[in-house]
């Protein structure tokens, strides 16, 4: 539900509807996390839970960004390393490293992030659409951006991330 509202807001931003900037209502919440210096966010309705790093059972014959599978309360959940997925170098896991379990359309996937930051509101005025036609490969997973101060937070497109078809 919130998704539609946000999509609309993004579309309006894109079409240069400046009226929105004044209207600063809250559209929903995002959970933010860090990967390197960059802050990313995921809309809260997709987040099932956050668990600490644990031993991951490797699965053969999958791309390197799929780290394997883990057991989350008797459910087998595949784990994706977001760093590797976005083509960033791997770093050793620390005690800040977390797994965020996402659910979308009955598919559950865990993503490994450097650390979890915060949960914050999405304000209409802060939303901006991603620049189009950029040839950066991470771009395809970004749904829109949120500005707060000088910081830009990239909100991930969970549907795309989870449903992606092999190109």
């Amino acid at each position: 539900m919130t998704n539609d509202v946000i999509k609309e807001a993004v579309a309006k931003q894109q079409s240069g509807d400046r009226k929105l900037a004044a209207d600063n209502s809250v559209l929903g919440k995002v959970m933010t996390f860090n990967i390197g210096e960059q802050v990313y966010g995921i809309e809260i309705q997709y987040v099932t839970e956050i668990i600490e790093m644990q031993r991951i059972t490797k699965v053969p014959h999958v791309p390197s960004y799929i780290k394997g599978i883990i057991n989350v309360r008797s459910k087998v959940v595949p784990i994706v390393d977001i760093r590797t997925r976005f083509g960033k170098p791997e770093i050793p896991y620390t005690n800040r490293t977390c797994i965020i379990i996402l659910s979308f359309n009955e598919t559950s996937v865990g993503i490994i992030v450097d650390s979890v930051a915060d949960v914050e509101d999405i304000h209409t005025g802060d939303i901006s659409a991603t620049p189009e036609n950029r040839s950066v490969n991470t771009n395809s997973f970004i749904q829109y951006m949120i500005r707060s101060g000088d910081m830009v937070k990239l909100i991930l497109d969970v549907a795309r991330l989870l449903d992606e078809q092999e190109a």
């Binding site: 031993r55 059972t57 490797k58 699965v59 053969p60 014959h61 999958v62 791309p63 799929i66 599978i69 883990i70 057991n71 008797s74 087998v76 959940v77 595949p78 009955e106 598919t107 559950s108 996937v109 989870l162 078809q165 092999e166």
Partner: protein, 700 residues
Amino acid sequence: MAKIEPGMEAMLDMYFYETNSLLEQLDEILLRTEQANAFESEDIKEIFRIMHTIKGSSAMMGFENLSVLAHKAEDMFFVIRENPDVITDVSFVYDLVFQVSDSYKAQIEMIQNNVNGEYEAMDFSGLIDKLLKARDALVGETKGEAPAPAQAAAQPAEAAPAPVQGSDKVTVRVFFEDGCQMENLRAFLLINTIREECSFLEYTPSDVETNSETSKEIIDHGFLITFTAIDNNDFVLKQIESALNVQSYEVISQAAAPAPAAELPPEPAQAAAPAEKPAETPAPAAPVKEQTAVEKAQAAVEKAQASSGAQKQNLISVNLAKLDALHDIVGEIITTESMVISNPDLEGLELESFNKAARQLRKLTSELQDTVMSIRMVPLAGVFQKMNRIVRDMRKKLGKEVDFVIEGEETEVDKSIVDSLQDPLMHLVRNCMDHGIEEHAEDRIKAGKPEKGTIKLSAQNASGEVVITVSDDGQGIDPEKIMNKARKQGILTKPESEYTIKEIQNLILLPGFSTNEQVTEFSGRGVGMDVVKANVEKCGGTIIVDSKKGEGTNFIIKIPLTLAIIDGMEVTVGDLVFTVPISTIRESFKAEASQILRDTGGNEMIMIRGVCYPILRMHEKFGIETDVTDLEEGILLLVETDNKSVCIFADKLIGEQQVVVKPFPKYLAKYNIKGEGLSGCTIMGDGSISLIIDTNTLIG
């Protein structure tokens, strides 16, 4: 696009279940009686009843086209019921009823696949026309043969309009089954069902449709209906009686009932067999003057219904999703149990009474598991019966004389397996009919075989597996033809001379293989047998072909009893744990340097008791880092499937464990994990995950 009436969704499942089982029953009766080539009066009544029930429930659900279709079929059988002798062309009637049954199934499937309550309503007008014509033809027969009264009975609605009883008001009090819920809506549906049969209709409480508070009143005091039937009160009473969830009804008053039973339109069906349906007898037999008579009759009705109710209670229908959930929970209990019993915290402690209790727990959970498994087991009879129908249709179309024999249909298999077996079996049976059995009976006679061909479908339990055989005594598979075709298709993988007869025969299971030059309606699209093979393998089974030219063909399918829980041997490779199904392991042993051989290509082999087996290193196959690379250091497991054997090399044996098979997450489905030797994963006692080896794909 038609829409499912709002508020009906909740009852759809029930409707599908009921209607589908009625249709299956119908098919069964038809197939059984067709062989005898005559309808028994019992069967006619049963068909009439089935059509009647379907008509009622379809009307209730608002599926008008289905209701009308059933109505017309019912009309036709009404005529037949009254005059069983009128049928001159039995096979015509059969074809018609089969068509009705098929149309029904097709429409119901469409409704089942509805999107947001919208479905495509099929047009049955052609079929309905046929039914009408058939009925008129039958009525015509009756006129010619039977005297007038019978005709009146045959067509109370049109030919002899409303005798006597029609003008009487009847008040009945209806009670619904305990705990069926939404009594007010059920009452409303009941009213809808009988509305078209009544010229006058009144009911209390009158606001059942809109006021859900009336449920309570209906539960406490019953639902009062006063009606005047257009033609026959008994008919309406019967409709009330057979309506969904109606537990009982009583006739309170039949205002001015001058009609003695004799003046009722003759009901030979009931008069002939009063004992058969005791519940119905009171209705026509009670022109009700004295209250005691009513009560007596009512008591009889209730008794009869109570007893039939008690019988019904032995079987309940359960949503499969609930069973799956139960099954999952049991799986988790078993996992958790191992977690508790072999908890690392307990190591080194003296725990006599704990161990005793643990043993007891283990016994109970394994009993629980067996019971849950047995709930999911269903006999193959349902699937087998459907094959009966296919043989019947093809026999007609192809003009081949064939006996169809079924054996071991009571054999039970997991529900999910039964469902996925239907398509492969259908294909095999069609193949036997189409390609197996000789085109002309003369060919059979020439070959010294009985004129009539035989197709046999049999099932039996054999050591944890179910073996299903589809066999025919037809022309068999000609290896030369197969070879030619295979050569043309370019699917041969080794020199022709190296193929054994058995291997040649099994070529027909490969994708893109179909020897029949002519594509027929039934088979021969070239996507036949490989689909069969894929389907069988999907449910963990195997299929082999065994055929002798000129004598016939056997297709042998072996499937596991259940998919979900297997006995596995745990082995480690590097830091991963694998589960190898024990059923595939022949032996496990340490290798000695003297046994190990290398061929010219550097492939490792091992000699065991004079037989040479290839060695498959798991760490290489799955790309795992491990310290154990010396064959003598690790462990070798000799595994065997489909007459192929290989020794797999792992680091260490951990032990035997019963594991609950879980599929890989959906997210991973796009990667070819399953084709590369893994069939799924399982959660072990300590909460870690082990990967289950699929010996078939591992070797292949």
